[in-house]
């Protein structure tokens, strides 16, 4: 089957240029100024942008075990609606993905029923308990792309060093959720002005920074390949900058919410402003935007963390951490950063597609002949309006619910098949 996308403004090698794209079955077969062939399906992309399908290195599909929050079908549907064609699922499910059987379960469900490609991330330690190394090598055979104890953090430095050495032995990257448990304590929000005012226990920036500093040193020693998840503080960025300058292979990601919101969002006690790491100070937020712009931050990841209404609809300090992210990611960043001149559209697209795929070796996502037809078609003039009624996620825990944001994903193609259409 041939699909022809006509007259779109296409992201190619860092530029936005007018091109036609021909897809044959699952593969892009031609990209050219003007393509005139008879296609089975023609998509008129006049006035629209065509991007490489978005890639998310960090999400929680809650399947197996917590399917009342989300499952692989609803999660991948929601991802497709947000323009994602490839996502990576974190292992903190129930049971934890810390063995090959669990890896294969997620992969099979995603392959049979999913609306995008799903890669699996395995646990660093068994049951995420921070006590014993998980069967990483077996899981690698099963297809995991990395290991992470995301949501948890290995506190024992000696064990972490072992995990790094072992992972490196099998060429497995480690994704670090950096949080010192003692410093974070029972913290609810960023330990700053708003925290002092509202009387919450705070999560200091130090809780993240001391672990990043530690893990950089451990990685230097073990030659591990580190990727820092959801980086949130200015000082963390300095640590990563220094490590990169020292020639270490270290990368990091940032979430849309840490780029666009700060601690003041918590003033109204909205539990959809509660996540880990917490929304930081305006100074931190600005440093994150600058670092994304200059490439110190390698990519954007949503940390899509669905929770049921009854879990979030309660006292702030009793509600779980996390917000959904797939369907808001592009629009939030386009509306809040690109239209305001803080970030170029080209850099945003790069950081949401090619960059994350490259750093985790997820394949060539460029729009060029021979590559899989994973594409996201966006109308930058239309509005995304998130609502509890129209979200495809099972969860509604998102601080932008009810808000109108500029930039809308109108079509998503995964392996040449339309997985979302507005």
């Amino acid at each position: 089957m041939k699909t022809l996308i006509k007259n779109g403004t296409v992201y190619i090698e860092g530029k936005l240029i007018k091109q036609d794209i021909l897809i044959t079955d699952e593969i892009i077969t031609r990209v050219d100024d003007v393509i005139k062939v008879k296609a089975d399906n023609e998509i008129d992309a006049e006035g629209l942008h065509v991007f490489p399908g978005f890639v998310d290195l960090h999400c929680h599909l809650r399947d197996p075990g917590q399917t009342y929050k989300e499952d692989i079908i609803s999660g991948t549907k929601s991802a497709a609606k947000g323009g994602f064609t490839t996502i990576c699922a974190m292992p903190n499910t129930d049971p934890v993905v810390d063995n090959i059987a669990a890896v294969e379960y997620v992969q099979r469900r995603a392959k049979d029923l999913g609306f995008c490609k799903v890669h699996v991330i395995g646990a660093i330690t068994k049951k995420l308990e921070g006590a014993e190394i998980s069967e990483m090598a077996n899981m690698k055979e099963g297809g995991i792309i990395a290991v992470s104890d995301d949501g948890k953090c290995v506190q024992n430095a000696k064990l972490m060093l072992s995990c790094m050495k072992y992972a490196t032995n099998f060429d497995i990257p480690l994704i670090i959720h950096a949080e010192d448990y003692n410093l974070a304590g029972k913290g609810q929000i960023h330990s700053g002005k708003i925290c002092s005012q509202l009387g919450f226990s705070g999560i200091p920036t130090l809780a993240e920074e001391v672990i990043i500093a530690r893990d950089i040193m451990l990685a230097e020693n073990s030659k591990a390949r580190l990727h820092i998840a959801h980086i949130s503080t200015a000082k963390s960025l300095e640590l990563v900058r220094q490590a990169k300058l020292n020639g270490m292979k270290i990368t990091c990601e940032v979430t849309p919410h840490h780029l666009t919101l700060n601690e003041e969002a918590c003033l109204g006690f909205d539990t959809n402003t509660k996540m880990k790491p917490p929304l930081r100070s305006e100074k931190d937020r600005k440093a994150l935007v600058a670092a994304l712009r200059d490439g110190l931050i390698d990519c954007i990841a949503t940390d899509h963390a669905p929770h049921a209404d009854f879990e979030k609809e309660r006292e702030f300090d009793h509600a779980p951490f996390g917000i959904t992210g797939f369907e808001s990611a592009f629009a939030v960043l386009y509306d809040r950063l690109v239209t305001k001149g803080h970030l170029s559209l080209e850099r945003l697209v790069e950081a949401m597609s090619i960059a994350p795929a490259t750093l985790m070796n997820l394949g060539d996502k460029r729009i060029s002949a021979g590559n899989p037809a994973d594409l996201t078609i966006v109308d930058i003039n239309d509005l995304t309006e998130l609502s509890p009624e129209t979200t495809l996620s099972k969860a509604k825990n998102n601080p932008w619910m009810g808000k109108k944001l500029k930039g809308k994903v109108v079509k998503t193609l995964c392996r040449g098949r339309i997985t979302w259409e507005a």
């Binding site: 330990s191 002005k193 702030f316």
Partner: protein, 312 residues
């Protein structure tokens, strides 16, 4: 011309929602209520037919009794919900609890809860006015109002007064609400305590002065307020011992000399005698600690009266 502040149906989450004029109006209303409390028959019929619920998810006998007495003296019906003996213990959510209570026809909620922001939730779920009786370390507006009332009654005004609050500032909701209220009425407030028990950015947020040394903090103070120092903070690693704390921060005959000669001595209670305050001071000539408790009932009556539109 009608400049009378409007209180009907309003919430009291914290004092930041109230102007200086409105706070003064509440103080005057409380003055009237205080007179009722001194009568032989301490009851007026003004809120007859109204139902007030004290929803205490965190235990507090004193504050709950104060709210309930206030409601009774205005002839409102009072229902008391205590978490320790309720469905909340069985895992019912606050939302379901409020829906259940609301179905029984509550007109006003007085809530005490360990979670900051929970009074806002009760209002969201019920649509009824809510008086915050203390939400975590966030706010305790009725305590602040009774503190302010106590000073105002003694000294006539808070304008230009120097108030020093000493102790565990970090864990005190009383301090946060007092800082907001006292500043509105023109007092300048100094907070004093060990640095491990001092939240960050206090000067920025509240325009107060932060001191770590008791002598400096008490200099020229018109009012000195001690706060309860809890033993748990020691096990949390925030200070080494009550003995060492006391040595540096106790309100005693000697340390009180650093304040003005007739400075008022206050404490929100319950007191740890011998730790943050010595009996000689707690029971001394300058102390108004017992009066604070009496004033608490009057202030809460005034709020209930104003919010539920009682007839004077």
């Amino acid at each position: 011309m009608n400049d009378t502040p409007q209180f009907l149906g309003r919430n009291v989450f914290d004092l930041d929602d109230y102007s200086a004029e409105e706070i003064l109006y509440i103080l005057e209303a409380a003055q009237g209520m205080k007179e009722i409390n001194l009568r032989e028959y301490k009851k007026i019929p003004t809120l007859r037919g109204k139902t007030i619920c004290t929803l205490f998810v965190e235990n507090s006998t004193r504050t709950r009794m104060s709210f309930e007495l206030a409601a009774s003296r205005l002839s409102a019906d009072v229902v008391s919900f205590q978490a320790s003996v309720s469905a909340l213990q069985k895992g019912e959510s606050l939302q379901d609890t409020v829906y259940t209570l609301d179905a029984m026809g509550i007109d006003l909620y007085c809530i005490r809860h360990s979670s900051p922001g929970s009074p806002q939730l009760v209002h969201k779920y019920s649509g009824k006015p809510v008086i915050n009786g203390g939400d975590g370390r966030h706010a305790h507006p009725t305590q602040a109002l009774l503190d302010i009332f106590s000073i105002w009654e003694k000294l006539g005004s808070l304008e230009g007064l120097k108030v020093t609050i000493v102790g565990d500032i970090l864990n005190s909701r009383v301090v946060r609400s007092n800082l907001i209220g006292m500043k509105k009425l023109g007092a300048s407030v100094t907070v004093c305590g060990p640095s491990t028990l001092m939240p960050g950015s206090m000067e920025d947020i509240y325009g107060c002065r932060v001191e770590y040394d008791l002598k400096t903090a008490l200099q020229d103070a018109d009012v000195v307020m001690g706060l309860r120092m809890q033993l748990e903070r020691q096990t949390e690693g925030l200070f080494p011992s009550l003995e060492e704390y006391s040595k540096h921060y106790v309100l005693s005959k000697e340390t009180i000399k650093w304040a003005k000669q007739d400075a008022l001595i206050m404490h929100p209670g319950p007191m740890n005698r011998g730790i943050e305050i010595l009996p000689e001071i707690a029971d001394g000539r300058q102390s108004i600690i017992v009066e604070q408790v009496a004033n608490g009932v009057a202030v809460r009556m005034a709020l209930m009266f104003l919010i539920l539109g009682g007839k004077a």
